[in-house]
């Protein structure tokens, strides 16, 4: 043995004699786990911890440059993107790391749920896990605020508007959220404190507790159909399983965790490299109203749900549903702490995961193209298709101009261009008669404002005549059966010459 190695061992022994951590750490690493748990399905929890570490490191690095001041935050982000060497890359890793972390936490949660790992004696591990999910989402939202751009600004407006719906203490909550009467310096400062001190502190402590309980109670064994959890026998059975059939966590299972953690970190780095950082979008200037604010990916589904609620249901929905969802997640292990763990014997559980995943997916997808939003510049940017003008009478052509000039296009598409808020009008005359169209335009109804005050009679006539030419691929025009009876004859349909 060389002198240097000997010296090294001496130093190690000197430290270990005083710290005394090596032995318990090695024991913990080598603790026996059920052989069945050394699975690729069991890697998501450790991956979430690794991503959290990545977020902490990149977050601290960003804090070296970022200025948490409403007047300067946006500029400092531009400076990070363009003037600091690799500043854009660090921002990109932090942003993508956030998206990956939410995804991994959700996958981890679904896996734990489907494998029945929340059952006795791991109920509290699940409950702390639910808290961790909420804290992760809290980090995502507060992080989106720190990217102090237009989306962040109006996202805070949406947050304030939601909490303002709470009865009695609504105003108090708005002021507490904003730190004052408007979204301004105090708002950013308090979200900075939340994102950098408060939530990470609670998050790290909760992760510690979560991992501590995983180690103390042992990792969930691979469920077997028909092997039911009983509070009276479970712990004895589990210890037998690890004693007779156990393998050391390090290295026999940990290599899979480590491999997956490396892969997921690499995926974050690759996304950051190829797709770059998120924003910042426009400056956080509330006097610039030419904006269509949108939340980050993780919150798009909420943004979409808020588009579909009828006004009368919205406040009760916003106040009750989150409580019910979080409450049932927290109560789940206490209500269903025993019994079957295997997914093949828990059809309701599988169905629930499938339904929730599909629901979140559909609403997120809708949130990416917001069909409920008017397209504010469609009336000036999307021309009426040539074939919709061709061979039309002067009155009908004038109607096409009214159609364009009165911004009908912002909510109704023709020729595949325009808003999707109202129905597409390419074949409107095949669905509605002249009277029905006139009534709908003047009085509104359904989800349409009335245009009686915005159109004079000649404009209305022209517009309706233009709309009557829109019959898709020469569909039969809609007819009013009662009118035909009173007239006794078929009146020829106006519009497209045959």
């Amino acid at each position: 043995m060389s002198k240097l190695t000997q010296r090294g061992i001496q130093v190690y022994n000197w430290i270990e004699r005083r710290v005394g951590l090596a032995k318990p750490v090695v024991e913990t690493a080598e603790h026996p786990i059920p052989a069945s748990s050394a699975s690729w399905w069991y890697v998501f929890g450790s991956a979430a911890v690794v991503l959290l570490g990545l977020q902490i490191v990149t977050g601290i690095l960003l804090a070296l440059v970022y200025v948490p001041s409403a007047g300067e935050a946006w500029n400092s982000l531009q400076f990070l993107n363009h003037n600091i060497t690799l500043g854009w890359f660090l921002r990109a890793i932090h942003g993508w790391g956030s998206n990956f972390m939410i995804a991994i936490v959700l996958i981890h949660m679904a896996q734990v749920f489907l494998f029945g790992a929340y059952k006795f004696p791991r109920e509290l591990t699940w409950i702390v896990g639910v808290l961790l999910l909420l804290l992760t989402l809290g980090m995502a939202f507060s992080g989106q605020v720190l990217r102090f751009d237009q989306d962040a600004y109006w996202g805070l407006g949406i947050g304030a508007s939601i909490v303002s719906r709470v009865p009695v203490i609504g105003a108090l909550l708005v002021h507490a959220l904003l730190g004052g009467p408007i979204i301004a310096g105090a708002t950013l400062s308090r979200f900075f404190a939340l994102h950098v001190f408060v939530i990470p502190g609670i998050l790290l402590m909760s992760v510690g507790l979560h991992v501590w309980m995983v180690l103390r109670l042992g990792i969930n064994e691979w469920p077997m159909p028909g092997r039911l959890v009983r509070k009276s026998t479970y712990e004895r059975d589990y210890h037998e399983l690890t004693r007779n059939n156990g393998i050391p966590f390090v290295p026999d299972a940990a290599w899979k965790d480590a491999t997956f953690a490396a892969a997921i970190t690499l995926a974050v780095i690759a996304c950051a490299f190829f797709f770059g950082p998120f924003g910042p979008s426009g400056q956080p200037d509330p006097t610039i109203i030419q904006t269509a604010p949108k939340p980050d990916f993780a919150f798009l589904w909420i943004y979409a749900v808020l588009a579909f609620l009828p006004p009368a249901l919205e406040t009760p929905f916003l106040l009750i549903v989150p409580v019910v969802i979080i409450g049932s997640l927290l109560l789940l292990p206490l209500v269903a702490g025993e019994g079957e763990k295997h997914w093949s014997r828990r059809p309701v559980a599988v169905l629930m995961v499938a339904c929730i995943a599909v629901t979140l997916g559909v609403f997120t997808r809708l949130g990416t193209y917001t069909p409920w939003s008017p397209i504010m510049d469609a009336w000036t940017s999307d021309p009426v298709p040539v074939e919709y003008i061709h061979g039309r009478t002067p009155l009908e052509r004038q109607g096409a101009m009214v159609f364009q000039g009165k911004q009908c296009r912002n909510c109704h598409s023709i020729g595949g261009l325009g808003g999707l808020r109202g129905p597409t009008l390419d074949s409107i005359a095949a669905r509605m008669t002249e009277d029905q169209i006139t009534r709908q335009v003047l009085q509104g109804g359904g989800n349409m404002p009335s245009y009686g005050n915005a159109l004079n009679p000649p404009e209305t006539t022209a517009l309706v005549h233009f709309l009557l030419t829109l019959r898709g691929q020469d569909l039969t025009p809609a007819v009013d059966a009662s009118r035909r009876l009173t007239r006794g004859t078929d009146s020829p349909p106006p519009g497209r010459p045959h």
Binding site: S69, A70, G71, E72, Y153, W154, G157, I158, A160, S161, S164, R165, V166, G170, A171, L172, L173, V174, H175, A176, L178, G180, P181, I182, I183, A184, G185, A186, L188, P284, D285, P286, T287, I289, T291, P293, Y303, L306, A307, P311, E314, T315, S373, P374, M376, W379, K406, Q407, N410, C411, R421, G444, G446, N447, M448, P449, S450, Y451, N453, A454
Partner: protein, 178 residues
Amino acid sequence: MNTSNSRRAFLFKLSVLLNSVVGAVLAVPILGYILGPALRKSSSYDSWVALGSVNDFPEGETRLVDYRNPVTTPWDGQTGGVACWVRRLSGTQFQVFAINCAHLGCPVRWFAQSKLFLCPCHGGAYYADGSRASGPPPRGLFEYKHKISGNQLMVSAGEMPTLATEACVRAGRSSCPS
């Protein structure tokens, strides 16, 4: 032995009590500091702000006006600015609307041709007088109290209007100008 033990136990309990008292004393400034902005009355933020000369607003038109929020700090930067929609009906008859949609606070835009305010977020629509036309908003646009002082149009502003912190409710309550 037993007596000294109980004496130490008593002293320990006493020290716990002492710390509870100190904690309670400390909680007063902490809570007061945290809740300070939250507990202020909404109306206490409002003051009169000049939006410009009455003649700047043509009759029958609705225009976007910016002003600086009366309560700001130097580090608020651009966020200290506020925009509002001013509608002059005729003479000294005005309506001043917040740009914040009554649904979720997004900035509504005025379309003079179709005489509608439209919200880009979820498609809330309002008529020229601010009343709800369609979409998810539960009510009409928020309106600021206003007055004409000399030749200046003034609004009572200072707070982002939401369902809980509106300066003035159009439908029903008395705080609104007629």
